[in-house]
């Protein structure tokens, strides 16, 4: 029987926990899928994506050691180590 091809998956980790996402998924979405918020505000509030288009800077996370990456503008690549404030 014919079966549709599975969408290609990309493996990343969010706060050390492995996660596979369909190719083309942004880092912001990977973080949301793990139920995490992205950053802590200057007074310690949890924050997540607002604008979804790289304007608001609320979705900043650390990606493979680089801090302050706007996760909504970056597509997941194999092996990325994503860290939120947690």
């Amino acid at each position: 029987m014919w079966k549709p091809a599975l969408t290609e998956q990309v493996s990343v980790s969010v706060n050390g926990i492995p996660l596979a996402v369909p190719k083309g998924t942004t880092v912001a979405v990977a973080v949301l899928l793990k139920g995490a918020s992205c950053r802590k505000s200057v007074t310690g509030q949890p924050r997540g994506p607002l604008c979804g288009m790289g304007i608001c800077f609320e979705c900043r996370v650390e990606i493979s050691g680089t801090p302050h990456c706007r996760s909504c503008q970056i597509v997941c690549e194999p092996g990325m180590g994503i860290r939120t404030h947690e």
């Binding site: 083309g24 942004t26 007074t43 997540g48 979804g52 288009m53 304007i55």
Partner: protein, 433 residues
């Protein structure tokens, strides 16, 4: 190690949305070497974000023409400065791009206007276009309970999109009154295409209630959104939901235009019928010249692309459509004007500047954007006032300061890397003089 990548074009187009794609295509089809730069990972802008650029009916032919015209597409690259006339600096990952142009087309689009209310900083409170962008970037929302709220045609488009992705859209709350919306409906009578679009949105909305005179007053939840309180006809109601998709129409991204000295009128980049700005050699197209939607953006993009290529006769063919659609844009601005009650949504404790966590109470005692910035750091965080600027303009009537480089935060390394070549360029220019 940062590299400096130098590229030289006849025409550089900033923004790869519909207006930018149309402009780049028309300039390249006129025989010029064209580069198109955008900070998003792919072309299409917000409306054709992600895969939609290869599937949406209107997008596909443009994506194909763009490719056939051999436009050099430079994505994931964000313009942050303009060291001298004819040169833009942009950041791409750790590298810096120096883009030289003879003509420049700005098609930097628009962003949502966000208005502060209690709880609007909770995770899962997003823009209406914001949530739509997240879904286009892979967020599954099947069965999620979503309240769509704010104002403007984007609410209906977002709600319809979310429903097509099997979300449980509970309601669409539009702050404007029925009277104003009906007037808008009659205003559409001369625009058959707009009526067709509206009808198809209506179909996609199915049974989702559309509620005018209605807006969010509070978002509640501990670590993220759990409930939203809406006000409708003077009464409040609490609704459990997973996401609040909330935006108050659009504001143009005029930062680069301002940096380059283009005249701004009524918040938009001022252009003539050839889409030329007040600066020779710089054209503006799409939402930055007035919020007119997809069709106007494409028309303006084509005019700007042909005009930048010096192909004025080809540009003139679109003038009639341009005039007609610009009237529509003016009607839309009036229709979705914000009601004054929304100024009272923020309480003294409500955060207005999300980057620096500045509450309303610390801002309300100031008389200008500049004074508030100096005293409270409002608007001085990484978003550089892109979110709180339009909000404080509405809340307090403040006008923004002039734009200064870098227009986006970039690393000191990048600024240092570029200082050397700029000095060299200046030297060369000086010797010639």
């Amino acid at each position: 190690m940062n590299r400096v990548i130098r590229q030289e074009f006849d025409v550089v187009v900033v923004g790869a949305g519909p207006a930018g794609m149309a402009a780049a295509t028309c300039a390249a089809e006129s025989g010029l070497h064209v580069g198109m730069v955008d900070d998003n990972p792919g072309i299409g802008g917000q409306i054709w974000r992600g895969d939609t650029v290869n599937s949406a009916a209107e997008a596909k032919p443009w994506a194909q023409r763009l490719a056939a015209a051999k436009v050099d597409v430079v994505c994931g690259t964000r313009v942050f400065g303009n060291p001298e006339a004819g040169v833009l600096l942009a950041e791409r990952g750790p590298d810096v791009c120096e883009l030289k142009y003879r003509k420049l087309v700005l098609a930097t689009g628009a962003r949502e206007r966000f208005l502060p209310f209690s709880g609007w900083t909770l995770p899962n409170v997003m823009g209406a276009g914001g949530l739509q962008a997240m879904v286009k970037s892979g967020l599954p929302i099947e069965g999620k309970r979503i309240v769509v709220a704010g104002t403007g045609p984007l609410l209906l488009a977002a709600a319809a999109y979310l429903r097509r992705h099997r979300a449980n859209v509970l309601m669409v709350c539009e702050q404007q009154s029925w009277t104003a919306l009906l007037r808008f409906g009659f205003g559409l009578l001369g625009h058959q295409q707009k009526i067709r679009q509206a009808m198809s949105l209506r179909r996609d909305l199915g049974g989702t209630p559309f509620m005018p005179n209605c807006w969010p007053v509070e978002a509640l939840g501990t670590d993220s959104l759990e409930r939203v309180v809406i006000q409708r006809n003077g009464k409040t109601e609490t609704i459990d939901c997973d996401y609040l998709a909330c935006g108050f129409h659009l504001v143009p991204n005029t930062e680069i235009a301002e940096l380059l000295g283009c005249r701004i009128r009524n918040s938009y980049v001022n252009v003539d019928e050839f889409q030329q700005t007040s600066q020779a050699d710089i054209f503006g197209a799409g939402e930055i010249t007035g919020i007119g939607g997809l069709d106007l953006s494409i028309v303006e993009g084509q005019i700007a692309g042909f005009a930048a290529a010096g192909n004025k006769d080809a540009a003139r063919k679109f003038f009639k459509m341009q005039r007609n659609m610009r009237n529509f844009a003016r009607v839309m601005d009036k229709t979705f004007a914000l009601r004054p009650e929304l100024k009272r949504l923020a309480s003294p404790a409500t955060i207005i500047c999300r980057c620096e966590d500045v509450p309303y109470s610390r801002l309300s005692r100031h008389t200008s954007w500049r004074a508030a910035k100096l005293e409270t750091r409002c608007g001085m965080g990484p978003c550089q006032g892109r979110v709180c600027g339009p909000a404080t303009r509405f809340l307090f009537g403040w006008s923004p300061d002039s734009v200064r480089p870098p227009i986006f935060p970039t690393s000191l390394e990048n600024l240092a890397v570029v200082s050397q070549p700029i000095a060299e360029h200046c030297g060369v220019a000086g010797e010639r003089g």
